[in-house]
């Protein structure tokens, strides 16, 4: 019999499992987390069962500190509100919770990201005549604007890790000062409204963080990959000089929780 806190060996877990586990580990106990639809939900629920039992979750559609017993598939899902502390609406979640200042951690996804952590979920190509449109911003930029830390969960592909995103949907560490449009640091743009910003990006290949200049670097590489391979899957010149080692694989206990408690129905985990 294997101990629950023992680490899985290569081949004993899927890429998505590690994605969820690595993301869950970014949650500090007691964090007030504002989570988006999809993998962020999986990660916060796992965190609550492991390293962050006192973390609470706010869902955009108005569920405050819900305690779902069935995995929600959308932040609007009735499942989010089960045993919630407050059930209200979006005015409460954005104004009454987010800009009110309660949120420690934003847990988000994204289609494309640049080295400053700017995320695009709006269009491919020139906005005036795009070649493709994504879903649009949703609450991604809002949560990312005001959480004290933001973690992105993304798929690692060369075309998704770009030198410049076609459209800055969600704010990273270098932004535009509107209406003039000059580039500025996030602190300059947000001034006294500055709360923090992107802290980590978790992909299927590694964990990325941001340096003092707000530039992304590779922190840990997932087992089975090399730093060079990760760099090859970025369009920008990824800094791999600060890699601290290999990402800790999931434990048997974490995998068990993921498949039996968090997503027993196989909604996100195939």
């Amino acid at each position: 019999m294997t101990a629950k806190n023992e680490l899985c060996k290569p081949g004993e877990y899927k890429a998505i499992d590690l994605l969820a586990v690595a993301a869950a580990r970014e949650v500090n106990d007691g964090d007030i987390v504002f989570a988006g639809t999809g993998l962020p939900m999986l990660a916060i629920m796992l965190a609550q069962l492991t390293n962050a039992p006192n973390a609470v979750c706010i869902y955009e559609a108005g569920s405050i500190d819900g305690r779902p017993i069935d995995l929600p598939t959308s932040v609007g899902d009735a499942r989010c509100a089960y045993q919630g502390s407050i059930s209200a609406g979006l005015t409460e979640s954005f104004y009454g919770q987010l800009t009110c200042g309660y949120v420690d951690l934003g847990f988000l996804g994204g289609a494309e990201i640049d080295k400053y952590g700017n995320v695009n979920t709006t269009v491919v190509g020139d906005y005036a005549s795009p070649s493709k449109r994504f879903t649009g911003s949703g609450g991604n930029p809002d949560i990312n604007s005001y959480a004290r830390r933001t973690v992105f969960i993304m798929v690692q592909e060369k075309r998704r890790f770009k030198e410049n995103v076609d459209y800055i949907t969600s704010p990273g560490w270098r932004l535009k000062k509107w209406p003039s449009g000059e580039w500025a640091t996030r602190k300059e743009v947000y001034g006294k409204y500055y709360q923090g910003g992107p802290e980590a990006v978790i992909t299927n290949m590694g964990v990325f963080r941001f340096d003092e200049e707000g530039i992304m670097y590779l922190d840990t590489v997932h087992p089975g990959y090399t730093a060079e391979q990760v760099k090859d899957n970025c369009s920008f010149d990824l800094n791999i000089s600060r890699v601290t080692g290999e990402t800790k694989p999931p434990t048997y206990g974490e995998i068990e929780l993921l498949y039996t408690r968090v997503d027993p129905e196989g909604i996100f985990l195939p």
Partner: protein, 325 residues
Amino acid sequence: MGKIQTITLQEAAGLIQDGDMLTFSGFTIWRRPMALVYELVRQGKKDLHLFEVNGGTHTEVLAGAGAIKIWESCWVGHELYGKLGEGVARSQVENTIIVEDYSHAHCVARLLAGAYGLPFMPTPLSMGTDILNPAYDNLKKAGLRDGSNPKIPKQKYLMYEEPFFDKGALVLVPAVNADWALIYASQVGSEGTVRVNAQTYTDPEAIKAAKKVIVIAEEIVPETYLRDDPTKNLAAPYAIDYIVELPWGAHPTGSQGYYDVDADFIRQFYAASKSKEKYDEWAQEWIFGVANHDEYLEKLGVSKLEKLKANTVLGYSTRMKRGSR
């Protein structure tokens, strides 16, 4: 405002004029007034100006039918069951609709301002993003910010530095006051008090901000039942103009306490939404091919509806297969 009238679905859709500005209840694929949206397509409405805090399946039904002229929002898709709003995306790429992008919180702020009778709301969110890029103001580019249309503000937003605490610039976004709020609610009292279960989304704000309000209600219940607990209600009778009683009126979107999202139906619609031809086939089958809502429900069939039905304690379906296991 005024005395509430109980009308039919056909009459309700008939009130909407081509070119009217609409907003909706619900959130992505939850509590959308789908039956009314189908009827708008059936009646061939055109040139609609949609303001939505977020879009969803209903938006795509209208987009596919070519009924939308202006779409102001932040998001459109079908959650897990269709990752893009293909109809809106195609129309934007083909330049057949005007898309005005805001952030989700900006949209909430705009609707809240409208609800509160204010010309704008401030927000410090989503600063520094291309949402605020003045070159990307599509209504301005279309020449529609000249003040001639009272529903289109003269500016998309304004960066404003306040003199009280010298905290620096934040965003002011203009109010939205649509001609119509098309609302799906779970319960409406016999005198018009409105209640929904679980999260309220931006339903109260949509009701308050609109000039006229049509509610498609899952059921009409005794007024005193709703008034026994006034803390749980959304709107007073005088906030509502027209009511249509219509069980399953939100299908295929979900209605907490009544039925869950019909994932398969939305997946099929999403697949169809990827081309004009397939959309038309789909619409032929599910909109034009059924004479009315009753026929639509018959076509769905009892066994499907029973699977979607919510567990009365949990508020969502426990009989529906959701994942791969």
